[in-house]
C-alpha cells in the first residue's frame, strides 16, 4: 500500500496544537495578579475603657493588613473568594455586593501602595468589639476593558468596627467618613 505522507496537514495540525498550548500558557501567566504590600501602623494609646493587650495589638495589625490585602485582591480580580475569612456581618455583605456589581459592570479597581494609620478609639469592657479610625492613603486605579479610566492618589478616613472571630479579628463594619 502506498503511503502518502501528508506533511502539510501534519504541519497545520501541529501548529494548531502549538497555538492552543501557547494561548493556555499565556492565560496561566496572566493569571498571576500583582500583590503589593499593605502597610499598617496601629496606635492604641487612646483606646478605652479597656486597654489593648500587646497580643491583641499584634492580632489587629495582622488581621487588618490581611483584610485590606483581601479587599485589594477581591476588587482587582473580581473574586469573592478573597473576601472569606477577614470580614463578617454587614462589612462582608457590602463588600460582596460591591464585587458582584463590579463583575456585572465589567470593570475592576486596584488599591495600590496602601498605607494605613490606624488608631484604636474604643475597646469594649469585655473585649468583644473594638472601634478603630483609619487614615488610609492609597492609589485608586479603575480599569475598564483593559483601559485605565481613573488613577488617583487618595487619602481616606474609615471608621472600623472589629470583633474577635474564631481565630482572628474580623471587620464587621468599614465605613468611609469625611475628614473632620
Amino acid at each position: 500500500m502506498n503511503v502518502v505522507f501528508n506533511f502539510a496537514g501534519w504541519l497545520r495540525r501541529g501548529m494548531c496544537l502549538a497555538v492552543v498550548f501557547t494561548s493556555l500558557c499565556g492565560f496561566v501567566l496572566s493569571a498571576h495578579g500583582a500583590d503589593s504590600a499593605v502597610q499598617v501602623q496601629l496606635d492604641t494609646k487612646k483606646a478605652n475603657p479597656r486597654a489593648v493587650e500587646s497580643l491583641t495589638e499584634r492580632g489587629i495589625l495582622r488581621d487588618y493588613r490581611f483584610a485590606w490585602t483581601s479587599i485589594a485582591q477581591a476588587f482587582e480580580l473580581n473574586s469573592l473568594d478573597s473576601l472569606e475569612g477577614a470580614f463578617a456581618g454587614d462589612a462582608k455583605q457590602i463588600l460582596r455586593g460591591t464585587v458582584l456589581s463590579q463583575q456585572r459592570s465589567g470593570f475592576t479597581r486596584q488599591y495600590l501602595n496602601q498605607n494605613h494609620r490606624l488608631e484604636a478609639v474604643f475597646y469594649a469592657p469585655e473585649g468583644d468589639v473594638m472601634e478603630l479610625h483609619d487614615t488610609a492613603e492609597y492609589e485608586l486605579r479603575i480599569t475598564d476593558g483593559g483601559k485605565i479610566i481613573h488613577d488617583e492618589h487618595v487619602v481616606m478616613h474609615f471608621v472600623v468596627l472589629m470583633t474577635p472571630g474564631a481565630d482572628r479579628w474580623v471587620i464587621r463594619r468599614l465605613q468611609a467618613v469625611p475628614q473632620s
Binding site: M1, V3, F5, N6, G9, W10, R13, G14, L17, F21, L24, C25, V28, L29, H32, E84, G85, A166, D167
Partner: protein, 581 residues
C-alpha cells in the same frame, strides 16, 4: 465460509475491537468501575486538572499535595472529556479507550512471536482476561491498563526499529512509549525488564539466526539508541515527577497490602490475587510452559512470563522481596499478574489455534466457555469477595454540609468511607488532611505510621489507629473541625478526644462530628509546591506526547502486511508448520 475455513483465518482486528466494545462497552456504560477501589481517586485527580490545568498543587488532600507525584495523562484526558461528558462518563470513556487499545496492542505484540492467526486469537483472548476485569472493575487501575495498552503498541515499533532500522518505527515507538510513561511510570519501568527484555532478546535471536535483515550488533546499538531516546524523553516529559520524587523520596513506613501477602497462608488472598485474575488460564499453564520452552523464539517470552508470574505472587515467594528491596513494600503486585497474563497471550494464541485445528467447533465452544467463565467469575467476584470496596454510600449530604454556612473554612476527614472519600473531595470546596494516594503524603501524622488512608484506619490495626490519633491530636493545628463517620467503630475515640455528634445524615448511616475549639484552617506551608514552570511543563508535555503519538499514528500509517510473508514461525524448530495456517 465454512466453519473450518473461518477458524483457519486470522480474526480481523476490527472484529476483535468490536468484540471488546461489545463485552466491555455495556459494562462501562453501566459505570461498573465507579465502585472500584481507585476510580474515585482518578476522577479526583482529573477534577483538579479540569479546574486547574496548569496548577498541580491540590489543597483538597493532605492539607496540600502535588499532583506531579502521579503521571497525569489519563487524568488529563478525563479532564478534557469531562467538559463534554461529565467526570464519571469521561472516566468510563478513557477506560474504554484503554480497553479497546489493549487487544490491538496484544495483537501487535503477539505478532512479534507468533503468526497473525495466533496473534488474533491472543488479542481476542485478552478481552476476556480475568486480570483485566479485576483491574478495570475491582481495582480501578485505569493508569496501569492504559499504560500497558500503549506500551504493547509501542513494543512492535521497538522490534521493527531494532531489526529493520526503520526511522518511522523509531519515532512512533518513542512517542507511544512516552505516552505510556505519561500514563503510568511504573508500567514503563518494569516493562523495560519484563516486556522489552524478551523483545530485545528475540530480536537478537532473529538477527543471529538471520531471520531479519539486521545484525546482532546493529540490533544492540539500535536498542541503545531507542532506550536512550525514551529515557531522555521520559526524563523530560515527567520532569516535575522526578523532581518531586527526588525532593521527597518515599520514606514513609510501609503500608500493608494483601497483594504482598503469602497466598499459601490465606485462601481468600489466593483466590483474589491468583485464581480470579488467571481464571481458565491456569489450565493452560502446562501448555505455556512446554510450548514456551520448546521454541527458542518463545523462550524469552516464557522467561519474562515466569518472572512476572512470580512477582504477581507477591509474598508467596521471597524473590520479589530480594529483587526489589524496599520497593517491595511500596508496590502492589496485582498489576504483575495482569502483565503475566498478557505475556502469556501469544503462547495461548497458539494453543487456541491448535485446539481449533484439531477439535474445530468443540474447541471453539470450550474456548468460548473458558473465556466467558473467566471474565464472568471476575465479575461475580466483584460482589462476592471480602476485599470489595464498601457499598456505595450516599455522600451528597456530606458534600452539601461542607459547602454550606462557611464549613469549608475548616478541614475535614471521613471515617469508614473507603474510596467514597475521593467522591466527597471532588465535589466539596473544603480541604481534608486525609487522601487516597499514599505516595503524596507528607504530613508526619500519616507517614510515620504503617497505614494508608485515615478513612480506613481500622483496617490497619494499631498502626492505623495510631495515625488517626496523631492526626486528631493536631486537629487544632490543621483546622480539622469536621469528621464524618460511616462506621461506629470510630465513635469512642472521637468522644474521648472531644468531638461531638452534631448532625445525622441518611437515617443515621453517616454522622457528622465537630470539635468546638478548632480554629479555621490555614494554608500549610510546604516546600513541595511545584513552581509555575513545572505546572506549565506538566500541563503541556504529557498530554502533548499523547497528541503527538495520535498524530504520528494517523500521519505515518503502517504499510499493510502481506499475510503470507508476515508470520514469524510459531515453532522455529519445525518451519514447515509455519505455513500450515
Amino acid at each position: 465460509m465454512s466453519t473450518v475455513r473461518s477458524y483457519s483465518n486470522p480474526i480481523p482486528i476490527l472484529a476483535i475491537v468490536l468484540v471488546a466494545l461489545a463485552v466491555h462497552g455495556p459494562l462501562l456504560l453501566m459505570q461498573l468501575p465507579s465502585g472500584s477501589f481507585d476510580a474515585n481517586f482518578h476522577m479526583f485527580f482529573a477534577s483538579h486538572y479540569a479546574h486547574h490545568w496548569f496548577n498541580p498543587w491540590n489543597e483538597k488532600w493532605f492539607g496540600g499535595f502535588s499532583q506531579t507525584t502521579y503521571p497525569p495523562l489519563t487524568h488529563q484526558w478525563i479532564a478534557l472529556l469531562s467538559n463534554v461528558a461529565g467526570l464519571k462518563m469521561a472516566y468510563m470513556l478513557v477506560q474504554l479507550i484503554a480497553v479497546l487499545l489493549l487487544p490491538v496492542g496484544v495483537f501487535r505484540f503477539a505478532r512479534i512471536w507468533v503468526d497473525d492467526r495466533a496473534a488474533s486469537y491472543a488479542a481476542l483472548g485478552s478481552i476476556f482476561l480475568g486480570s483485566l476485569a479485576f483491574l478495570v472493575y475491582q481495582a480501578g487501575q485505569l493508569a496501569t491498563v492504559s499504560s500497558v495498552a500503549l506500551y504493547l503498541n509501542a513494543l512492535p515499533y521497538f522490534y521493527e526499529w531494532m531489526t529493520e532500522a526503520r526511522g518511522k518505527s523509531l519515532i512512533k515507538g518513542i512517542a507511544i512509549s512516552l505516552a505510556a510513561a505519561a500514563a503510568h511510570h511504573v508500567t514503563l519501568i518494569f516493562g523495560v525488564v519484563l516486556f522489552a527484555g524478551p523483545v530485545l532478546w528475540v530480536a537478537l535471536l532473529d538477527a543471529r539466526d538471520e531471520r531479519v535483515s539486521g545484525s546482532v550488533s546493529g540490533v544492540l546499538s539500535r536498542a541503545v539508541v531507542f532506550a536512550v531516546a525514551v529515557g531522555a524523553g521520559v526524563g523530560l516529559v515527567l520532569l516535575p515527577y522526578w523532581l518531586a520524587i527526588i525532593q521527597h523520596p518515599i520514606h514513609q513506613i510501609p503500608i500493608p497490602h494483601d497483594s504482598r501477602a503469602n497466598f499459601l497462608l490465606n485462601s481468600t488472598t489466593a483466590v483474589n490475587y491468583f485464581v480470579i485474575p488467571y481464571g481458565a488460564l491456569i489450565l493452560a499453564l502446562p501448555f505455556i510452559l512446554f510450548r514456551g520452552a520448546a521454541s527458542s523464539r518463545l523462550r524469552p517470552l516464557l522467561i519474562g512470563f515466569w518472572l512476572t508470574l512470580i512477582f504477581g505472587l507477591g509474598g508467596t515467594t521471597p524473590l520479589p522481596r530480594w529483587l526489589l528491596g524496599r520497593a517491595f513494600e511500596i508496590l502492589t503486585f496485582e498489576r504483575f499478574t495482569f502483565w503475566a497474563t498478557l505475556l502469556a497471550m501469544p503462547i495461548l494464541g497458539t494453543l487456541a489455534i491448535e485446539l481449533l485445528d484439531r477439535f474445530q467447533s468443540k474447541a471453539a465452544v470450550a474456548l468460548s466457555l473458558a473465556a466467558v467463565s473467566t471474565v464472568g467469575a471476575a465479575l461475580w467476584w466483584l460482589n462476592a469477595n471480602p476485599f470489595r470496596p464498601t457499598a456505595t454510600t450516599n455522600v451528597q449530604p456530606v458534600i452539601a454540609f461542607l459547602n454550606r454556612d462557611g464549613h469549608d473554612a475548616y478541614r475535614y476527614i471521613t471515617l469508614g468511607f473507603g474510596s467514597e472519600l475521593s467522591k466527597v473531595s471532588i465535589y466539596t470546596s473544603a480541604g481534608s488532611v486525609d487522601g487516597d494516594y499514599n505516595s503524596a503524603r507528607l504530613l508526619p501524622e500519616m507517614t510515620h505510621y504503617g497505614s494508608a488512608q485515615l478513612t480506613n484506619a481500622k483496617f490497619y490495626g494499631s498502626a492505623g489507629m495510631a495515625s488517626l490519633r496523631a492526626m486528631l491530636e493536631h486537629a487544632n493545628r490543621y483546622g480539622l473541625k469536621y469528621i464524618f463517620v460511616h462506621d461506629t467503630y470510630y465513635e469512642p475515640l472521637l468522644t474521648f478526644v472531644g468531638y461531638r455528634k452534631i448532625e445525622t445524615f441518611g437515617s443515621g448511616e453517616i454522622t457528622a462530628w465537630s470539635k468546638d475549639d478548632v480554629p479555621p484552617a490555614h494554608k500549610i506551608e510546604s516546600d513541595a509546591i511545584p513552581p509555575p514552570w513545572q505546572g506549565l511543563l506538566w500541563g503541556i508535555l504529557p498530554i502533548g506526547v499523547s497528541f503527538l503519538a495520535i498524530f504520528l499514528e494517523l500521519l505515518l500509517p503502517e504499510r499493510r502486511r502481506v499475510p503470507a510473508a508476515a508470520g514469524v514461525p510459531v515453532r522455529a524448530e519445525n518451519p514447515e508448520r509455519h505455513f500450515v495456517a
